[in-house]
């Protein structure tokens, strides 16, 4: 046999050279494709966020008007200031600025103020009954159409017939503006108020607290149970058909659509156990069921990744199986477990469908005081606002999404931070 290896390859051969160039070209192509793919993904993310910001940033300010209120003792009940007729007070307030207006016109002008203004006025005097008979200056939100006007969302050029505000209303508002009574401070109400029918009063407080409770419950249940189950299945359970079945089953749970978890919660938690509807506690339990498989899968993967040499070392000095797991394997698996947990929780934070089925898409104008009181969650609040006719909710929906995304990014950042912190230890 001719031993081919005896000859050396002539690398200057033009055919070989051409081939080499072609191969390098192919490599550049692959690289270009990869870069394009990542670029595309980033672009989409950018567009997504840019869209949200461009429609949502306006909700971060709210137009206010500074009014001075005279607490007319005639309209008050000094013994119980909360009972006064504050609705009737509002036209009086407007009359200061539009002395020439008729009563009917005044009622119309009162619409510049938010419907919540009367209650702010009331709360002020309830807090301090000494105010009766005095005059106080208060900054109250304007109602939604005027807020839109001030933000330039109502085009003054559109024909009056189809404009949301007519010429007279705009003129009245402009008069207040010229009097320097209009301002547009940061819209803290968006975070501090609970839900309301009125965009200018609506806020995420209830949803934030509800989401927080639900997430806490979800974490407190799914984290220990998930880790416990994963440790048992990975380290202690005998390997046989049943454990195979359980593995498939848990992988499958991770893929079960979230609505189905909602159906389960509806049937079991609400139906059999008679738990209250709309409670963040129940929401948290539902989300925990959903998060559980994610945590189990991540934990098992992390446990698997711990090198067997560590286990052998510990067993070799006479540690028991559980000592090995809890003292050596688990700490080493922690970064992976934490990443999985936080990813699972991030998904839970953004999950809507199962919460719809257990009634967490309710309209509640008070923030919950405990995990057992009814409330909404961020995603369901977004869902509700998105379906509200008032124009102000359009930008508030985007703003709420941005708030949610901020939490999400914060959680991801926490995951990365924890991960690198645990990893850097040795």
């Amino acid at each position: 046999m001719a031993d081919h290896t005896a000859h050396r390859v002539d690398w200057t051969d033009p055919a070989l050279q051409a081939r080499l160039r072609k191969r390098n070209r192919k490599q550049r192509w692959l690289r270009g494709l990869g870069l394009t793919a990542i670029g595309l993904a980033f672009l989409v993310l950018f567009i997504l966020i840019a869209t949200l910001v461009s429609s949502g940033f306006r909700a971060f300010t709210q137009t206010h008007v500074t009014i001075s209120v005279h607490y007319d003792p005639e309209l008050m009940n000094e013994a119980d200031p909360g009972r006064g007729n504050f609705r009737a007070l509002m036209p009086q307030v407007m009359a200061q600025y539009f002395p020439e207006a008729s009563d009917a016109e005044l009622r119309n002008l009162t619409a510049i103020l938010s419907n919540g203004a009367q209650f702010m006025v009331r709360d002020r005097v309830v807090a301090n009954p000494a105010l009766i008979g005095q005059t106080v200056s208060l900054r109250v939100p304007v109602s939604d159409p005027y807020d839109q006007l001030h933000k330039g969302l109502i085009d003054r050029e559109t024909p009056e017939r189809i404009r949301r505000l007519n010429d007279a209303q705009i003129a009245a508002f402009d008069r207040l503006d010229q009097a320097g009574m209009i301002s547009a401070p940061l819209n803290w109400a968006l975070l501090l108020n609970a839900d309301s029918r009125f965009p200018e009063l609506a806020g995420l407080r209830g949803a934030l607290i509800g989401s927080f409770y639900a997430l806490m419950v979800c974490f407190l249940l799914s984290f220990p149970i998930g880790i416990g189950a994963a440790i048992y299945l990975e380290e202690f359970a005998p390997r046989n058909r049943i454990s195979d079945l359980i593995e498939v089953n848990i992988n499958n749970l991770a893929a079960v659509p979230s609505v189905v978890f909602g159906l389960l919660a509806l049937a079991v938690f609400l139906g059999w156990f008679g738990m209250p509807r709309s409670a963040p506690f129940v929401g948290g339990m539902t989300l925990a069921l959903m998060t559980l498989p994610t945590i189990i899968i991540a934990t098992r993967a992390a446990l698997k990744a711990v090198p067997p040499s560590i286990r052998e070392a510990a067993l070799g000095v006479g540690a028991s199986k559980q000592q090995v797991v809890f003292q050596h394997v688990l700490p080493l698996a922690m970064p992976g477990i934490l990443t999985g947990t936080i990813i699972g929780l991030a998904q839970a934070l953004g999950e809507t469908a199962p919460l719809l089925l257990i009634g967490m898409n309710a309209f509640i104008t008070a923030a919950p005081g405990s995990p057992f009181e009814p409330s909404t969650a961020l995603p369901t609040q977004i869902f509700i606002w998105a379906d509200s006719p008032e124009r102000g909710f359009v930008s508030r929906t985007s703003a709420a999404i941005l708030v949610l995304l901020t939490f999400l990014v914060a959680m991801n950042a926490l995951a990365i931070f924890l991960r690198s912190k645990f990893e850097r230890r040795w």
């Binding site: 189809i162 404009r163 309301s196 309710a362 998105a386 379906d387 006719p389």
Partner: protein
Amino acid sequence: AAARDQIRIVGSSTVFPYTQAVAEEFSNQTGAPSPIVESTGTGGGMQIFCAGIGEQHPDITGASRAMKASEFELCQQNGVTDISEAMIGYDGLSLAVSNANDFAWDLTLEEIFLALAAEVPVDGEWVANPYRQWSEINENLPATEILVMGPPPTSGTRDAFVELAMHAGCKTLDYVEQGGFDSAWINENCSRMRTDGPFVEAGENDNLIVQRLQADPNAMGIFGYSFLYENLDTLKGVNIGGVEPDLDTIADFSYPIARPLYFYVKNAHRGVIPNLQEFVEEYMSDEALAAGGYLSERGLVALSDEDRAALQDAVLSGASFQPE
């Protein structure tokens, strides 16, 4: 379970905004704990409402249709025997297009039917709807694609639209008038919306339809009047038979698509669930219900004064409801 001190309300997504408004007003006025209002859909609401008596069951359900006999049956079985019905007013449906569409739309119910029905008469034959462009129905209409976004069959809005617009339009067709068909035939043949594209079932979220109309000048949408009202600067109503949709035309039914809205109260819960009676009173008050009340500000078409008085009497006294 701890005793409940909030009112719980479920039911139709159409009644939802009105109940929201009353709930917020009520809680602001009285300082009572805020009622919990959930939008579950009429059917889902009935199911939960009729599940039983007691704290774990809701007190009120809203409905965009009257309670069905079968649902009433369910209520009876579960001990919910004493219910009051309140028909609070009408919800106007409106057809609308984007302002960017410069045609002055004015359709007859017949044209609406011809555009949207699954089967229509063509040359004396009852056939699958062949029309793709408005101009094929009437040459005075623009030669643009028919594209109407509306509610899905699971929604009460759809049901109302079929009954009020489609059936009415169907009945005025020459073919039907001359054919002398009975109402069973009409129910069977005039109820189906076309599924070949021009009619798009756009989901329950009316705001989405609004935004899609704004994006697509050729599309027409069917949704609650309050959404049109809020967006008058970008949308315009489609006249029907020369009538423009607004609060007045809907209230006097000259704009022909409006449907009644209801809510149902468990009388057994009155006096047991704190504030329930007071809440119903607020709902029934003139401030809320009357024309010019705060519900009509949100687009509810109010009842006439006599009807309202009768309603207030009946509901506040807790008159018991029996389905026909």
